[in-house]
């Protein structure tokens, strides 16, 4: 029962974050929202009793992909300036 309520709450949060990532004007805000999607998706995987998937999602979805996106944005900014 309590897991269902938490899972619904987190899923609605994931939807809000994904919509923010699509409709945001700024590139930086979009990348941070995508990182937040990975963050909450990892907690949802944890509620579905899959710790290994949750650990991978936390490492790749939230950490590594944000860092790589920022690296690429920085490269593009240097080339344009």
């Amino acid at each position: 029962m309590i897991y269902t309520i938490i899972a619904i709450f987190l899923s609605v949060t994931i939807l809000i974050m994904a919509i923010t990532a699509i409709y945001s004007k700024s590139l930086v805000v979009a990348v941070i929202s995508a990182g937040a999607v990975g963050l909450f998706a990892s907690v949802v995987y944890l509620l579905l009793a899959a710790p290994d998937v949750a650990m991978t999602e936390a490492a790749i979805g939230s950490g590594l992909s944000t860092i790589i996106f920022f690296y690429v944005i920085n490269k593009i900014r240097q080339n344009n300036a």
């Binding site: 004007k25 700024s26 930086v28 805000v29 900014r77 344009n80 300036a81």
Partner: protein, 121 residues
């Protein structure tokens, strides 16, 4: 035996109340630096107390709980310090209640064209 679990649960409840107050401060404060102040202090102690309560309920998990508490205690101030310095560097304005700003003597930096970092939307 029974008492220590109830003490742990109460400690967890106090920690979550501090987390809630930190988020409330994040909504109510007028500018970036005051938000960092309330946010980082309240969440550091709140997370430490929450994990400590869980550790009192399950006494055999003590090792990982101790590592997590020390980790939160060390990394949380560092990230708030770095964010505050970056916010002052790119020229986020301070609130109108500010009394004194000793860091303003530095030459203002120039934000490159195409970077809308200060105020978007």
């Amino acid at each position: 035996m029974e008492y220590i679990e109830i003490i742990g649960a109460v400690v967890t409840l106090i920690g979550t109340i501090f987390l809630f107050l930190g988020s409330l401060g994040l909504i109510r404060m007028p500018d970036v630096f005051n938000r960092i102040q309330t946010g980082t202090k309240a969440t550091t102690l709140g997370t430490m107390l929450t994990l400590l309560g869980i550790g009192l309920i399950h006494l055999d998990w003590a090792g990982k709980i101790i590592v997590l508490i020390i980790f939160v205690l060390v990394t949380n101030p560092v990230s708030s310090h770095v964010l505050a310095r970056a916010a002052h560097y790119i020229g986020i304005p301070l609130t109108s209640k500010t009394v004194v700003d000793k860091m303003a003597q530095k030459p203002a930096i120039t934000v490159k064209k195409g970077d809308k970092l200060k105020e978007e939307d």
